[in-house]
Each structure stands twice: as structure tokens, then as C-alpha cells.
């Protein structure tokens, strides 16, 4: 493989990892507050389809993005209401969200399959930085959403670890009773984090339909939402590590895609399994190395109600 090809591969890695980065950041935030949302796949799909439909209808990808955010956030609000207010089982509720989102997106997108899009997100060369050798190609000749995803993840890290807000969020996920005792509204924090998490998942989905693929296909996320959930564990609930993890998966996706087009003599079916097998492998390694769930918010999946603590 030539040097040129490797740089191209790394640039493709960043693109392929971006959708997962949005979704993983969102899930990370929700889990930090103690809410596990396994509906990421469903929220991404709804984001992808709404983003696509609104971009086709309005001709402006930012309107599409806004619709995707509303869709992801709206789905997450259902999860928040059911798990926080009505104290439902978070695992089952997340599954319901995925099943519902898959159905809803398939229904809404039916007549948009194969529709071309006039205004996808296009690469923006950042003046100055784009001309840096190698790094410029990889990081600074991408579309706006790639930049935004990194900004969001870094911002989230800053907020979580270096602000009072972050402290509140982490304490709600760690020990809701103690957070409640110092006057933090547990359910308000959890609602906020879950819904913002959904908005980010919606953006991740829209990245696929508006920048990565630009098109709509049923089930186009093909498991990326689940990979994002796994990635949160891999990242040990730290947004900076989530960036790393997302690009790891992006790299595998980009690589298998290259290998397919280059006609490497491995069955495409085995190549297609790679991201999923990698997810399992990574999960096993991280879990063994960390000996149980070190770093996991202690109150994850546990509902909180004052009178029963």
C-alpha cells in the first residue's frame, strides 16, 4: 500500500467514525446520568430519515439536521418519560425504542429510497490547516459535521470533568440519593442528559444520510447504534476515549471497504462481519482488563425515587 493510499485510508477512517462518534457521545452523556438507552440504533435511524426528508424537501441540509435533532431528541424524550417518570426497565424500553425507530424510519422513508439529494454536506478546507502535510488531508479537509463532532466530544469532556454541571451529572449517575440531598434535581438532570443524548444520536444518523452515504436506505445504520453503545464501555465513559474508539471502528469500516473494492481474496461476507466481531473482542478485552465495570456510573439502569431510597 502506498503512502498516498494510507493517508486516503486515514481520511476515510475519520469520515466513517464520525456517525459513531456522535451516537457514542450522546449515549455516554445519558449513561453518565444513570440512564442506559439501548435505543441508539432507533434514534439514529429516525435522525437519518428525517434529516434526509427535510433536506430533500427544503434543499438545505441544515434544516435537515435540525429535523434529525428534533427526531432523535423526541425519541429520547419517550425513553426519558418511561424510564425516569414511570420507572420502566431501561433495557427493555431501549429495545422498544430501537424496534419502534426502525419501523418509523422505514415507514417515513419508503418513498425516499433512491431519491438523489441536492445539498449534501461537502468537505470544507480549513484555510491554513488544510495545507499541513498528511494531517491536513486527514483532519482538515472534511465536512462541517466532522469538525462539529470533535468539538462536541471535547466540549463534553470539559463539561463532565471541569465544570459544576459535569459534577452534578456525574453525581446523579453515581449516587442519586446524595445528589438529591444537596439539592440537585435527579430527574431533571436525567431528562436533560437523555434528551441531549438522543439529539446527538439523531445527528449521527443524519451524518450517514446527509454526508457519509448521502442517500436513504432502510436500516442504513446497520448496527452502528449498537456499536456506539459498546463503545461507551470501551471508552470507560470518557468522551476523549470515545473519539479514539470511534476512529478505531471507522478505520475497520474504511479498511474492509477498501479491501472489497481492491478485490482482496477474502469473502465479502467475512469482511462484513469484522466490525461486529471487533466490537465483541474490544468489549471482552476492556471488561477483563477493568475487572467488572470499573468506571461505570454506579447507578446506571437504576431508577431513583426519593421515598424508596
Amino acid at each position: 500500500m502506498s503512502f498516498e493510499a494510507i493517508v486516503a485510508l486515514l481520511a476515510a477512517t475519520v469520515v466513517a467514525g464520525t456517525a459513531i462518534l456522535y451516537a457514542a457521545s450522546g449515549e455516554l452523556l445519558a449513561e453518565r446520568s444513570g440512564i442506559m438507552n439501548l435505543g441508539v440504533e432507533g434514534m439514529m435511524l429516525v435522525g437519518a430519515v428525517l434529516g434526509f426528508i427535510f433536506t430533500v424537501r427544503t434543499g438545505n441540509h441544515w434544516y435537515g439536521m435540525a429535523a434529525a435533532m428534533a427526531g432523535g431528541g423526541g425519541m429520547a424524550a419517550i425513553h426519558a418519560f418511561l424510564t425516569i417518570t414511570l420507572r420502566s426497565n431501561q433495557v427493555v424500553c431501549g429495545l422498544a425504542l430501537t424496534i419502534f425507530g426502525t419501523g418509523l424510519s422505514g415507514f417515513l422513508g419508503k418513498s425516499y429510497q433512491g431519491t438523489p439529494i441536492s445539498d449534501p454536506f461537502r468537505a470544507i478546507h480549513i484555510p491554513g490547516l488544510a495545507d499541513i502535510p498528511v494531517l491536513g488531508r486527514i483532519f482538515f479537509q472534511q465536512d462541517a459535521l466532522v469538525y462539529l463532532s470533535i468539538v462536541i466530544a471535547v466540549l463534553m469532556w470539559l463539561v463532565l470533568y471541569h465544570s459544576r454541571w459535569g459534577l452534578s451529572i456525574r453525581s446523579v449517575g453515581q449516587n442519586p440519593a446524595a445528589a438529591d440531598a444537596v439539592g440537585i434535581s435527579v430527574s431533571r438532570v436525567r431528562y436533560f442528559c437523555t434528551i441531549v443524548g438522543g439529539i446527538l444520536a439523531g445527528m449521527g444518523g443524519a451524518y450517514l444520510s446527509l454526508a457519509y452515504a448521502p442517500s436513504w436506505q432502510e436500516n442504513m445504520t446497520s448496527g452502528r447504534g449498537w456499536i456506539a453503545v459498546a463503545l461507551v464501555i470501551f471508552a470507560l465513559w470518557n468522551p476523549m476515549r470515545a473519539i479514539l474508539g470511534s476512529y478505531l471502528f471507522g478505520g475497520v469500516e474504511a479498511l474492509t471497504f477498501r479491501m472489497q473494492t481492491a478485490g482482496v481474496n477474502i469473502s465479502t461476507f467475512y469482511l462484513a462481519m469484522m466490525p461486529y466481531l471487533l466490537t465483541i473482542l474490544v468489549l471482552v478485552i476492556v471488561t477483563i482488563r477493568m475487572r467488572s465495570e470499573a468506571g461505570a456510573p454506579a447507578a446506571l439502569t437504576l431508577p431513583y425515587h426519593r421515598e424508596e431510597r
Partner: protein
């Protein structure tokens, strides 16, 4: 301002065990009604068509049963895992692996007599599906790896694996490019009941339900499963071997799903092909949950969801996508989850500032 609070009931409300699931279906249908109406589609006509598609003729009813059989088996298998709070969402992949193993036997030993061939196919399917459940089960039991994600990931792996065969070495030369295995020999066909497409897989499912009911309620092992479901820690404390139980339950849960796969290829398609399951593995999660993990309730709920699937297929003729059904399924689960709180709590008006 009037505020409401959830007050814990002294005892769980038994009536709500029945009312909540029924009401959640009704509300989901109502939601679908409003959704379709907003979308400019005549809801009454749509539901009527679904009803006719599922129950309108003896053929329709037999199709509903045909779709209900895998849901029964998968739901029963999943219910065991769910009872122990093992979130096996890999039934889809376990089904595919079972179908794969059974097809392998049928394709290579197809000249054996039915009485030998069918049990061997069933056994192979059980083992293959079981292994597909056991692997994430072992990861969970020994290393505490989150089984929700691993079982789900293995779905994708299983489907790709099966496709590698039907697009490759097992492809029927006479299929004109379609991804199908050759047709099985007639010995590998599951006998049908009467002259319908309903096959004796139905009896297998009923048998599994009875066995499971007996096991859960009248054996020490069933009791252990219940205790582990309450709390892994307290089960360990009372000397129950949690690790062994996780392995066993994931093996059996996957095995039953594998059996469902064998029953699909042997009873319906008579060959291995793409898309043997329209997401049975996921629908079965809802079936098991709606039935509150009760084996006999699973049989009935599976029939209902079989009807929903068949009705949904019928809609495609009228240009409505199959995803309409998935949407309704998700909505049923939402309402069910939302309603479950009323089995343990009741709402009380509180004048003072609440939470």
C-alpha cells in the same frame, strides 16, 4: 397546583397483570390509527385489511399460525433468559445458526429416512443455536461481559455467515443467481397438519411450553432460576451456582431459537435462503415481555403477533410498507412498559409540593 405521586401498592395488582397488556395493545392500535390518519391513510380500511389478511379465511388463519410457531419457540427460549435478567437479544442469529445446521444435515444426509433425519436436524439446530447463545453466555458468566451487546452483534455475524454459504458453496446451481440452497429431499420436510401449511412444529412449540411450565414451577432448577432473577448476589449467597445456570440457560435459550430455525427451513421454505426470518427474533422479545414470561401466555401472544405479521404482509399489496407493523410492535411495548408501573404503584393526588 395539583400534583400526582406514585404510591407503592401493598401487593401487586393481579387484575393489572391482565388489563395492562390488553390495554397496551388497544392503545398501540389507537396510536397507529391516529398516525395513519395524520399521514392521510384511511386507518379503518388499513386495519380491516390487516384483520382480513390475518383471520379472513381458513388460509389466512393457517398463515397466522405458521408465523406464530417460530414466535412461540423464540419467545419461550427468551423467557428463560429474561427470567434470569439475561438480556439475550440474539435470538435472530441463534435462529439463523439453527437453520444453517439443520440445512447442512438435510443437504448432505438427505437420503436418510425421515424418522432419523428430522431428529438429527433438530439436534444439530439445537446445538448450533445453543452454541450461538452459549458463547455470549460464557463471556457473561466468566468475565461479566455485557451480553446485550454481544448477543446483538452475533446476529449480524450469523446472518453474514449464512449468506456466505447461500451465495457461495451451497448455492443451488439451478437457482438462476438467486441466493438459495438446493431444495431439501422430501424426507427432510416437517410433516404438515392436514393439508395446510401448518406443520408439526406447532406441537413442538406446545410441548416446549408445557415442559418449560413444569420446569419453572415444579423443579428445584426452576426455583433457582427465579431466585437468580431476583438477585444474582443473594442467589450466590444461598449457594446457587450462578455461573453454571447462566451457561445452561443461555445454551437452552439459544438452542430453542436454533430449533425454531430448523422448523422454519424444514417446515416452510424447504431450503436455506436469505431472509428466512422477518425479524422473528426481535418480535419474540415483545411477545415474551407482553406475556410476562408465562409459557402459556407466550403461546397466545405469539398467535396475536403472528396475526400482526401476516396482516402486515397483506398491507404491502396496498403499498404500505411492512415497517408499519414494526412501528405498531414498538408502540405496544411502549404502552406496556408505561402501564407496568400500575401493577406495583397507584397514582395519588398530593396537594403539597411533590417531586
Amino acid at each position: 397546583m395539583i400534583q400526582y405521586k406514585f404510591i407503592k401498592r401493598e401487593t401487586e395488582s393481579l387484575a393489572s397483570h391482565f388489563i395492562v397488556p390488553v390495554l397496551s395493545i388497544v392503545l398501540a392500535l389507537l396510536f397507529g390509527w391516529i398516525f395513519l390518519w395524520l399521514y392521510g391513510i384511511n386507518p379503518a380500511e388499513t386495519y380491516l385489511r390487516m384483520w382480513q389478511g390475518a383471520f379472513g379465511s381458513s388460509y389466512a388463519i393457517s398463515e397466522t399460525l405458521v408465523k406464530a410457531i417460530p414466535l412461540m419457540l423464540l419467545g419461550l427460549g427468551l423467557s428463560m433468559a429474561f427470567r434470569m435478567k439475561l438480556w439475550n437479544i440474539g435470538a435472530e442469529g441463534q435462529l439463523y445458526m439453527g437453520a444453517f445446521a439443520a440445512s447442512g444435515i438435510a443437504l448432505f444426509y438427505g437420503d436418510l429416512p425421515s424418522l432419523v433425519l428430522l431428529p438429527v436436524m433438530g439436534l444439530a439446530a439445537f446445538v448450533a443455536g445453543g452454541i450461538w447463545g452459549l458463547v455470549p453466555g460464557a463471556m457473561r458468566a466468566y468475565w461479566d461481559v455485557n451480553e446485550t451487546i454481544t448477543t446483538l452483534m452475533l446476529n449480524y455475524v450469523a446472518i453474514s455467515f449464512v449468506e456466505s454459504f447461500i451465495f457461495g458453496p451451497w448455492k443451488d446451481p439451478a437457482s438462476m443467481g438467486f441466493p438459495l440452497s438446493p431444495r431439501f429431499s422430501p424426507q427432510a420436510y416437517l410433516p404438515s397438519i392436514g393439508d395446510s401449511r401448518v406443520h408439526i412444529g406447532l406441537l413442538v412449540a406446545l410441548l416446549v411450553a408445557v415442559l418449560l411450565y413444569f420446569l419453572l414451577n415444579y423443579t428445584k432448577w426452576g426455583y433457582e432460576i427465579k431466585v437468580i432473577g431476583e438477585s444474582h448476589a443473594s442467589a450466590r449467597y444461598t449457594g446457587i451456582n450462578v455461573t453454571r445456570n447462566i451457561l445452561l440457560v443461555m445454551l437452552i435459550s439459544g438452542g430453542i431459537a436454533g430449533l425454531a430455525g430448523m422448523i422454519e427451513v424444514s417446515g416452510i421454505t424447504h431450503r436455506l435462503q436469505q431472509g428466512i426470518s422477518p425479524g422473528y427474533g426481535f418480535t419474540a422479545i415483545i411477545v415474551a415481555w407482553l406475556a410476562r414470561l408465562n409459557p402459556f401466555a407466550i403461546i397466545m401472544v405469539a398467535f396475536l403477533f403472528g396475526a400482526l405479521l401476516v396482516g402486515g404482509f397483506g398491507l404491502q399489496i396496498f403499498g404500505l410498507p411492512f415497517s408499519t407493523v414494526q412501528m405498531l410492535e414498538g408502540a405496544v411495548l411502549f404502552f406496556l412498559l408505561g402501564g407496568e408501573i400500575f401493577t406495583k404503584y397507584h397514582l395519588q393526588r398530593s396537594g403539597k409540593e411533590g417531586q
